[in-house]
Chain length 375, copies 2
Amino acid sequence: MKKSINRLIIADSEKCADLLWATRFFVPDPVFYLEIAGKKILIVSDLEISRAKKEARVHQVLSLNQYLNKLRRPGKKPPTSLDVLDTVLRERRVKKLVVPSYLGIREANFLKKRGYHLEIQDPFYPERAIKTQEEKKLITASLRATEAGISEGIKVLRASRIKQDKIYYQGKPLTSETLKGVINCKMMSLGFVGHKTIVAGGKQGADPHCTGYGPLPAHQPIVIDVFPRSEASGYHGDITRTVLKGKASPLQKKMYLAVKTAQEKGIRMIRHGIDAAKVHGEVAATLESFGFKTENRNGKPEGYIHSTGHGLGLDIHEFPRVSRLSEILKQGHVVTVEPGLYYEKLGGIRIEDVVFVTRKGCEVLTKIPKIFVIL
Amino acid sequence: MKKSINRLIIADSEKCADLLWATRFFVPDPVFYLEIAGKKILIVSDLEISRAKKEARVHQVLSLNQYLNKLRRPGKKPPTSLDVLDTVLRERRVKKLVVPSYLGIREANFLKKRGYHLEIQDPFYPERAIKTQEEKKLITASLRATEAGISEGIKVLRASRIKQDKIYYQGKPLTSETLKGVINCKMMSLGFVGHKTIVAGGKQGADPHCTGYGPLPAHQPIVIDVFPRSEASGYHGDITRTVLKGKASPLQKKMYLAVKTAQEKGIRMIRHGIDAAKVHGEVAATLESFGFKTENRNGKPEGYIHSTGHGLGLDIHEFPRVSRLSEILKQGHVVTVEPGLYYEKLGGIRIEDVVFVTRKGCEVLTKIPKIFVIL
C-alpha cells in the first residue's frame, strides 16, 4: 500500500533532515525530492547533477536545466523551477501529494493553483525516530568524538592553576572561548563540526543556552555542553558535563547530586512503552525533593526550566521529546536525558547522556564519566 | 507607512537568516517573531526567555509558558503554541500579516482558519541584501578568518614534498581530510566555524561541491573553497583558491588563466545599476573565448556549469544572484564572483572573491593573493 503514497519535499539537505534521511545526499541549495510509486526521484541543477548521481540514494536523478531548456518558449516568460516540478508530476500523472508541515506557503499555493491535492504529514517520516543499528552506530561515533572533545577540555582544566578565584592556563586567564576552541578543534580533527558549543561558568551557566564568554571562574560550576555533527554522516552527538575547578561548597555539591540523581532516575525509567511525560515528571519531582524549586524570581524563571530531553539524530532536536507532553517511547528511539538546575546566584548545573530505548530498558550510549570537582 | 505593516516569522535563527537579521538573537528552536505597529516582539519559552531579554534586539519578549498557563482550561485539550500566537495577535487586534514564502503550510492553514489574511513577501526583507557599513565590517572579518585558514593550508602544501605524483607532508601522504582539518582548526581558533570545506584535487574537483577525500594528487589542480560562519555575528566568508602542487601543464595554465581573466572581467563590470545577467554573460563568453566549451559529455555537464556568484551575508547563498537571470545590482550588495571550469579529465579550477558594490564600481573585500603553482 505504501507504494501508492506520493511524497514531495522542497528543501536543501543541510537544513532539512528529512531530505538527508531519505537521500543521504548533502546539498546546500533547495532541490525537489519526490517519491512516486515507491521510486525516489531528485531534480537538481547542472551544478549538482554528477554528484547527485554518484552520492544520492535515489532511483532517478533528473536535470532541472534540461527541463528548463525544454520548457523555454521564444517570446514567453522563462519557465521557473516550479514549472519543472509541475511538468515532472504531470508526466507521471500524480495529483495527490503528501507534503511536510514545513512546505513553504508559496510552493503550496502554486501547487494548489495547479490542481494538486496536498496532504500534510507531521512528522513527515515518523519512522525516522526509530533508529536502525546503522544509525545507532553513527550516533555512537558522534558521541565518541564529542567525548574526545570534552576530554581535551577537561585535560586543560586539570592542567590549569587557580589564582584569586580565576583559572589560569599556561600563565594566562583561561577563557570560555579558549576552552571551546580546544574542544572544537579536537572534534574538527576527527571530522565533526562543533557549533555553539557551550562552556559557561558561574552566572552565565544560569542561562541554559548562553555559550559563555570571558575568563572562567574557579570554585563555580562550568556547564560544558557539546553537540557536534559528523561531516560525513550528518548525525549528532550531544553531551553535557558540569565541572567545577577548585573547591565546591556543600550547596553546590547538593545541587550536583540532585541533578545526577534525577538523571539516573529518569534513565532507569526509560523503556519501550513508557510515557515520556512520566519520565519528565519523575525527574522534576526528584529535583524538587532535594529542595530545588522551580519558580519565577524577579520575572526570571529559575530552577528546572526546560524539558528532560529530545530525540537525537540528523537533527540536534528531533522527535520524540521527553517533556510534560504525553509521548510514548519506543524501542529504537534515541533520546537525551538532561536535567538541569539554574539559579541566578548559583549558576547552572546540567548533566546530559544519550540513551537508546530497548524493550526492557535503555542502553546508555554516552561513556565519559561524570566528575564534578576538578582539583 | 511602514508602521502599519505587521509581520510574522515562525522559525529558529540558526536556520532562518531573516530572523537572525531582524533580532540578532541566536535560538536553536522555533520561536514566534512579530512586527506589530513598528514594534518587534518575540515569544519564547522559559528556556530562552532570560537570554532573549538580554540578547535579542527587540522591543518586547513575551513568555510562551505564561500564555500556555493562562490558556489552560481544566478538562479541555491543552493549548498549543499556535493558540498562544493567536491570542497575542487578537490582543493586538492584528488581522493582516505579511509572511515569508517559507512560512510552513501547517501554520499558514492554522492562521487562515482563524481568519487571518496572509500576504507573502519574497524576499521577506529585500533590504537585507543592502549591507550596512557594520555588516560590511563583519563580512570582511569573516573573510580575514577565511584567509587565515586558507593560508594555513597553503603553508602545509608548501612544506610538503612530492613523491611519485603524490603529496607527502611530514612523511605521510597528505589527504584532503588532513588539509581540511588544518584550515578548519585555524578558523575555529578564531571563532569561525568551517563546514563542508572543500579541498578537492584532480577529478574530484570536477564536481563543484565534492568536498574531497583521500590522498591529494601532485601536478593537478586542487580546489580549496572555504566558507565559514562567525559564531559571534553569523556572517559568512566565502573564498575559493585553486592551487597546484608541482608542475602545471600548458593546458592547466591556460585553464587557470581563462578563469582568472573571466573573474577579473566580471569584477570590472560590477557597479550600481548593472544587470547581473550581463556580468554572468561576459564571464561565460570570456571562458568560451579561451576555447573552454560548456556542453554535455556522456550525459555529464562540463565546462562552466554554474552561475557567477551569489549574495553573501547571514546566509551563505542569498539574494542577489549573479546568474543568467536578470537582477539589477545595487550599491551595498555583497556578492561573490566565482567562475570555474570543470572537466572530467582535467579536474576543476575555480577562483572566488567577494565584492561590495559601489556607485561607480565595486570594492574587492578578499585580499589573499591568487597563486596557482606551489613548488
